[in-house]
């Protein structure tokens, strides 16, 4: 049976104490994509005795493409657009008010682009509790999908790591197959997929043995 409670050494004090991970509460940051026993997090249907064991988002590196686009967008009005107009030799008599409002709108739209993309990453979360596995997705800022699977309904769990980036940054897809009619849960591009699988397997084992976590 894989170990659920890792031994974490604390650096405070002269003597290095060891304590089980169960008691180690981790403070969440805005860019947290992998947290064991996170502190200060609750979700919609969480029951009183239910505790969050794993909190996951997609790996932070998946945000790199839109961050690069955002940086480029910041330079469009001041650098790229004048360069383009100069290159194509277009001299349009654009009124100053249009340039002012256009530039302002461009920066607001860039801010909106960043916000929408960040939200898209931030609000798609995967949670593993001591009772179930939860997948909360928001699609295109309008659709919400709340899927869950009880630990005793999980039949199989596996992970796939493919591609150069996922190998370098250690992220992958975790697939949870359930016995119920509900569709399988897929954790897309989550960090440390092997650790996620290991933790869920361990929880299922403990759940089968009827030991509360």
């Amino acid at each position: 049976v894989p170990t659920l409670f890792d031994v974490a050494a604390t650096s405070s004090g002269n003597s290095k104490k060891t304590r089980p991970m169960k008691n180690t509460k981790k403070r969440m940051g805005p860019f947290t994509s992998f947290a064991e026993n996170p502190d200060g997090v609750r979700f919609e249907t969480q029951e009183a005795k239910e505790t969050i064991v794993l909190f996951l988002r997609q790996h932070i590196v998946v945000n790199v493409p839109w961050v690069c686009v955002s940086v480029l967008m910041l330079f469009v009005p001041t650098f790229l657009l004048p360069l383009f107009l100069h290159a194509v030799r277009v001299s349009l008599p654009i009124p100053a008010t249009y340039i002012f409002v256009g530039t302002l709108f461009w920066y607001v739209a860039t801010f909106g682009f960043i916000l929408a993309n960040f939200l898209g990453w931030f609000i798609n979360i995967y949670i593993v509790t001591n009772e179930r596995i939860v997948d909360i997705d928001f699609y295109y800022l309008l659709n919400k999908d709340f899927s869950q699977a009880e630990l005793n309904k999980v039949q199989d769990i596996s992970f796939i790591t493919k591609g150069l980036l996922s190998t370098i940054f250690n992220y992958g897809e975790v697939v949870v197959q359930t016995a119920s009619e509900s569709p399988n849960l897929e954790f897309d591009k989550v960090p440390n997929p092997e650790k996620v699988v290991e933790t869920i397997r361990s929880l299922i084992e403990k759940h089968k043995r009827g030991r509360p976590l």
Binding site: F105, V108, F122, F138
Partner: protein, 73 residues
Amino acid sequence: MTEQALPIIAWFGFKILSLIGIAVYVVFAGIIVRQENLMSHVLEEGFEPILRMLTYIHFIAALIVFLLALILL
């Protein structure tokens, strides 16, 4: 229609299109605010107040741009 009137009509058409475009964007900004509110019901987390503030700032900024376009263009 005179030759001088044509650019004026063209700019007026462009102004109307710009206003419609910015108005659509204001709606999009409102959807982001709504989405963030929905999310805060689903998940309680420490960063949520800052995110809410950012979505409101974005919505207000979009609204200001719309008003400026209405006045200046």
